[in-house]
Structure formats: structure tokens, C-alpha cells
């Protein structure tokens, strides 16, 4: 009788793993095409339209870059927590709190010039976002409470808190009663680069990404993070205790998501309103995992997933594909890549069973 046996690979697959990754993407696209066909949409032209309108024009690339800023920052934060196997699902709420913190600063000190106000807003966003990451960290280390649920619940609470502020005390008196804060003063707006629609948030992304890469690659703490994730007991020999590491990654995570919230509020909306929440925190998890928690790959994946969102709008406009299609693609891609990871870590061998 022939059977299959599974062996763990001695060495990782290298280039083959990229092929596996590609195969996974192709599989998920095939399933998506099937779903499109079920709804009566022309599958192949839909997919080509998706890709074309996401990447193949100057303004599409611009749109993708603008959109990838918050995704990238949230994802960077999520990745650093995931490295320690601390499952931070709370990027969405930390993003919201960061936006709230920055807005508070902008509304309280509108007369400040930009070189004072913007850093102050960034600082406040860091504190607020970091705080929202600290709470689940403390609960985890002191009371062994599962961080997945806590961060998730804090997402809902943060969004409701944001609603409470924009419907109540921060509502713009000139907005005819609609829930939005007054527009930020000129000093509170992160400006655009030249005549394009890009904003200086890109610079923040590049700086944060580089800093993270250097930290993980070249510092001892960065190495300890990775080791601590794979085996909490090994972390005991590290300089920082496991508990301190958990706090560090959650605060950093929250801070980075908070920066994303600050940039969205300041650069894109120029005010705070409920519609700032666009699910970036959840997309960030998909991006972080697809990029294997590596900062440089995160940049690529963030751009691609931003492209997915941009291309999807064209599908809606031209082919009336429902908006939920994007979530299906994200979910499928992640699942197929997860399944594909099997082939990079193990190999199959045929065995004769006697």
C-alpha cells in the first residue's frame, strides 16, 4: 500500500518558498474568479481591470501610496507584536485612539505653528495609542488574560469613544450638527508633497520602517524579541524579562497604529470624524502575516493590499461588483498562503506501507 509521509525540512526552502507563495496567490485568484462567475460577472476581465486600475496609471500609483501609509504603519506595529507571539488584534482601536489624541492636541492649541503643533500631535497620538496597547499588555502579564479578546474588545470601545467625542463635546458648531470636529488649523495639517496627492506621512513611514529594520536586524533586543517569541523560556536568558518584552511590543504596536491615526486625521481628513475608521487595523494583520513580519516585505505587501482596495473601486464602478469582494480576496489570500506554508516547511515522501 502506498502512503504519504511528512518530513520536516532540514533547511528552509529558499526560492521555492516564493513559488509556493505565488501558487497560493494564483489559487486564491482562481477561487475569486469562480465567485465572480457565480454572480454573473466576467471573471478574467474583472481581474485584469482590478490590476490595471490599481497600478497602471500615475494617479492609481499615487492613490495606492496614499492608502498604504496607514496600512503600513499599523502593520509594522502588528508585526512587532506577532514576533513575540503576542497577538495584537487591536490595531484598529489603537489607530482610533491615536487619531483622538492628535485631534485633542490640534483642537486645544490651534494657534501653534506647524513645527510645534505637528510634533505635539504626533506625541499625543503616540501616548494615546501606546496606552491602548499597554492595557492589554498589563492584563496579559499580570492576570494572564488572553490578549486576543482584550485587544478586540478595546477596538469596539475605542470606536464608540471616538463617536462619543465627535457627536458630543468636539462637534463643530459650524457643521450644522453633523458629527465632525472643526477643521484643523493650518498648523495641524500634514501637507502634501508638491503638486501630488501624497503627503509627508510617506516620510514617517520610511523613517519608521528603516528604524524597525535596523532595530530587528542589528540590535540585541531585536534578536531577543524573535527568540522570546519562539520560546518564552529562552527569553528568560535575555536582558529584558518576557513581561517587559510584552509591554515593549504592545506599546510600540499601539504607538505605530496611533501614528497612522494621526496621519489619517491630519493629512487626509483635516479633522476627526467617524468615517476615519476604514478597517486598516484588520488589513494590517493580513499584511503583516503575508510579509512574514519583515519590515521591507511589509512595505511591499501594504502597497499591494492598498492596490487591492483601489482596484476594487473600479470593479464596483464598472462592473457593479459588491464592495465585500475585497474582504473575500484578503481572506482567501491569507488562507492559501497559510496552507502553502506547509510546503515550505515540510516535504512529502511516498512510502510503501507494509
Amino acid at each position: 500500500m502506498i502512503g504519504l509521509r511528512v518530513h520536516k525540512r532540514r533547511e528552509p526552502l529558499g526560492w521555492g518558498s516564493f513559488l509556493v507563495f505565488l501558487a497560493a496567490i494564483v489559487l486564491s485568484l482562481a477561487i475569486c474568479s469562480l465567485l465572480l462567475a457565480i454572480q454573473g460577472k466576467p471573471a478574467l476581465s474583472a481581474l485584469s481591470l482590478l490590476i490595471k486600475s490599481a497600478f497602471f496609471s500615475a494617479w492609481a500609483v499615487e492613490d495606492c501610496l496614499v492608502k498604504s501609509v496607514p496600512i503600513f504603519l499599523c502593520s509594522l506595529g502588528v508585526a512587532i507584536a506577532f514576533r513575540l507571539q503576542v497577538w495584537n488584534i487591536g490595531a484598529e482601536g489603537q489607530f482610533a485612539l491615536g487619531a483622538v489624541g492628535a485631534t485633542w492636541m490640534a483642537l486645544t492649541f490651534p494657534e501653534l505653528p506647524w513645527y510645534a503643533l505637528l510634533p505635539a500631535m504626533l506625541a499625543m497620538a503616540s501616548i494615546a495609542g501606546g496606552l491602548w496597547g499597554l492595557v492589554p499588555a498589563l492584563l496579559k502579564i499580570r492576570l494572564r488574560v488572553n490578549e486576543i479578546i482584550v485587544t478586540l474588545m478595546l477596538n469596539y470601545i475605542a470606536i464608540l469613544f471616538l463617536d462619543y467625542l465627535v457627536y458630543g463635546r468636539w462637534k463643530d458648531p459650524a457643521s450644522f450638527g453633523f458629527p465632525m470636529t472643526p477643521e484643523f488649523s493650518a498648523g495641524g495639517v500634514v501637507g502634501t508633497i508638491g503638486a501630488s496627492r501624497l503627503n509627508w506621512g510617506i516620510a514617517v513611514c520610511i523613517a519608521a520602517g528603516l528604524a524597525m529594520w535596523i532595530f530587528l536586524r542589528f540590535t540585541r533586543l531585536g534578536f531577543e524579541l524573535k527568540a522570546g517569541g519562539e520560546n518564552p523560556r529562552a527569553a528568560r536568558y535575555a536582558r529584558l524579562s518576557y513581561d517587559r518584552l510584552v509591554i515593549l511590543v504592545m506599546v510600540l504596536s499601539g504607538m505605530l497604529a496611533g501614528w497612522a491615526g494621526f496621519l489619517e486625521a491630519s493629512a487626509n481628513l483635516n479633522r476627526l470624524q467617524s468615517s476615519i475608521m476604514a478597517g486598516y487595523g484588520y488589513t494590517a494583520i493580513v499584511v503583516a502575516w503575508l510579509a512574514r513580519l519583515n519590515p521591507l516585505m511589509i512595505a511591499v505587501a501594504a502597497f499591494l493590499l492598498a492596490g487591492l482596495r483601489v482596484g476594487l473601486e473600479a470593479l464596483q464602478l464598472d462592473l457593479q461588483v459588491p464592495a465585500a469582494f475585497g474582504e473575500i480576496m484578503e481572506g482567501l489570500i491569507l488562507l492559501t498562503v497559510l496552507a502553502g506554508g506547509f510546503f515550505t516547511r515540510y516535504r512529502l515522501a511516498l512510502r510503501r506501507k507494509t
Binding site: Y167, G177, L269, Q273, I276, E313, L317, P322
Partner: protein, 352 residues
């Protein structure tokens, strides 16, 4: 001579035919929720279909577009693709539309429920409060417990205004009535909205009205055996024994008129706030349980509103705290209506 006149005649005919031939127009719609929500976006889409039926007009739409940078991109894309008229159907699209309007002076932009204008951007809305006032009258007549329940969505002016109009209408025929408000912070979530309706039923309400788009509250009312006021007429099929009537939107005539104006070159930017007279809002047919005398009184009031003799927010209008918001002797201005931030006396509920 005769040949010349034939040539001239055919030239003139040819030119007039060219002018009379409909210019191809592309009209785009941006919706904030899926059109299947049986409510707000659904009503707009019905209007779009009226436009699509016009000769020489093609329409397209994007649904579930988040307010903010996403909407800016969608509107921008439509403009780039050569759309001639773009309708944005949610307040939050205002700033985005304005930004794009500045870049595309040849495209006509229309924003629903907002207040900003530009040379090529107008805004439009409907006086839904008129229909709500009438539905309040029906509720006031039909209630026995004198407690009316209102399942409310979000504390924005149009919702608040609708609740106030409903309350004023009910109080006009039944001064003892009180309106209790529960906020769900949803636009279409039947489970949550049904629960909210049930909570109002538990405090004794026997007519349930709503501002959301799902029939959840209607179901709750029907199950308890009491009455309800829908929102967009489909709801009677969910609660045939309960629905008294419903205030409904009718965007078709406005959309068709706007597109025709653009086509003939007579469109100009303005703030449009049509009412029952123009047919943009209406009351759904009465349910079988509404007695004839109630129907007649309500129809009479409706006729008064249409002819302009009825003034719904005529002073004195007192708010929950007892302060007089509109003094006696005058009527609330459009500006006051559009930015309404208080509940009238007789409404029990918070504003946030």
C-alpha cells in the same frame, strides 16, 4: 430659387435635428451603503433607474463608499472617466466632492444633504420632516397608551428634525402623547434595531417609528400586536398588520429634472430643498387598520402642506429643557431646521 430654398431648408432641418438629438450623458451615483439596504441608498437607486430610462443617458454607481479619502477617490475617478453629472448621496461626501469639483469645472456635481456650494456644485435635500409630521399625526390618533416609541439611528440634524416633526404632529392631534427615543447607532442592523424596538415596547409604547432602513422594528411591533410607522414603503410587507403608514423618499423626479437641465444647458448651482409639493417626499398608503376619519384629517393636512398653508415648526416651539427655541409669531427658518440640535418638549431621550 427652389433648389436654393430646398438646400437652405435641409440645412436648417439638419442643424435643428443635430440640436434636438439627445447629447449622450454619463451620470454617476455614489452611495454610502449597499443599495439592498431597503432604505436610504435603495431609494436613491430607484431614482437612478428613472434617470437610466431617459434616452441618451447611461448611469453607473458605486455603493458602500466610505466617507473621507475613499469617496474623494471614487468621485475623482468618475470625473476622470468622463462622467457629466455626479450625485453624492451622503453628508460626509461634502468636502471630498468640493475638492474634486474645483479640479473639474465642466462636470456638474450635486451633493445630497450638505451645505457647501461651488460654481459647478449644488446641493439638494428633501423635507422629509413634512412626511414625518403627517406620520406623527397618524400615530397620535392611533395610540392608546399615549407612548410612542422612536428607534433612532444617529444623532444628526435630519434624524433629530424627523423626531421633532413626528412629535409635533402627534401632539397636534393628541396633546398628552410622549415620544421615547432609543439610539442604535446603526443604519441597517435588524437584530439591534429589533431589540431597541422591543425595549420601547417594554416601556409601554404602542406605536413604533424608526429612522433606520431595516424592517427589524416593524417585526417587533407586529409580533407584539401593536402598530408601527415604517420608513420606505416596502416595510408593509414585513408587518402588514402593524404598519400604519411610512414616510418615503422619491428621488426620481429631482434626478430626472437635474439631468435634463444639464443636458439643455440650463443647470445652475443652488441649494435645493424640495418638499411634498414637488413630490420628493411622500406618505406611503395607509394600512387597513387606519380608520377613514383619520385618513381624511391627515390627507387634509397633507394638502395644506402642499399648498403652503400649513406651517409645521411654527412658534412657540419649546425644547425639552423648557427653553423657547422658536418664538411665537414666526416659523423656524430653513437654517434653524437644518441645524436642529434640540428635542421638542414631549420627547424623552438623550441627544448623543
Amino acid at each position: 430659387m427652389r433648389r436654393l430654398s430646398i438646400v437652405i431648408l435641409s440645412l436648417v432641418l439638419g442643424c435643428s435635428l443635430a440640436f434636438a438629438a439627445p447629447k449622450e450623458l454619463k451620470v454617476g451615483f455614489v452611495y454610502v451603503s449597499p443599495i439592498g439596504d431597503a432604505g436610504w441608498s435603495y431609494a436613491h437607486d430607484q431614482g437612478r433607474q428613472a434617470v437610466a430610462a431617459l434616452p441618451g443617458v447611461t448611469t453607473s454607481y458605486v455603493e458602500a463608499v466610505a466617507e473621507g479619502p475613499d469617496s474623494e477617490r471614487v468621485i475623482l475617478n468618475m470625473a476622470r472617466k468622463g462622467f457629466n453629472v455626479i450625485f453624492a448621496t451622503s453628508f460626509g461626501y461634502m468636502d471630498s466632492m468640493l475638492k474634486v469639483a474645483r479640479q473639474f469645472p465642466d462636470v456638474v456635481f450635486e451633493h445630497c444633504s450638505g451645505f457647501k456650494l461651488a460654481k459647478n456644485m449644488g446641493n439638494y435635500f428633501g423635507r422629509m420632516y413634512q412626511a414625518r409630521y403627517l406620520s406623527g399625526m397618524v400615530a397620535g390618533y392611533m395610540t392608546k397608551s399615549n407612548i410612542l416609541g422612536y428607534v433612532a439611528a444617529f444623532p444628526i440634524p435630519e434624524v433629530i428634525r424627523g423626531i421633532n416633526a413626528f412629535a409635533l404632529g402627534a401632539q397636534a392631534v393628541n396633546p398628552k402623547v410622549e415620544v421615547r427615543v432609543v439610539w442604535t447607532k446603526t443604519w441597517y442592523d435588524p437584530a439591534t434595531e429589533k431589540e431597541a424596538a422591543k425595549s420601547l415596547l417594554d416601556v409601554g409604547a404602542d406605536v413604533i417609528a424608526q429612522h433606520q432602513d431595516s424592517p427589524g422594528p416593524q417585526e417587533a411591533a407586529q409580533e407584539k400586536g401593536v402598530y408601527s410607522i415604517g420608513y420606505n414603503s416596502d416595510m408593509s410587507k414585513f408587518a402588514p398588520k402593524a404598519q400604519l403608514t411610512a414616510p418615503i423618499w422619491n428621488w426620481g423626479p429631482f434626478y430626472v429634472q437635474t439631468v435634463e437641465q444639464v443636458r439643455s444647458g440650463t443647470w445652475k448651482s443652488e441649494s435645493i430643498w424640495w418638499g411634498m409639493k414637488e413630490g420628493i417626499v411622500d406618505l406611503a398608503p395607509f394600512g387597513p387598520m387606519v380608520p377613514e376619519d383619520v385618513r381624511q384629517k391627515v390627507q387634509a393636512e397633507k394638502a395644506a402642506i402642499i399648498s403652503g398653508t400649513a406651517e409645521l415648526f411654527a412658534g412657540p416651539v419649546t425644547d425639552q429643557a423648557g427653553k423657547v427655541q422658536v418664538p411665537a409669531g414666526r416659523v423656524a427658518t430653513d437654517e434653524e431646521l437644518l441645524s436642529m440640535k434640540y428635542f421638542v418638549k414631549g420627547v424623552i431621550g438623550t441627544l448623543e
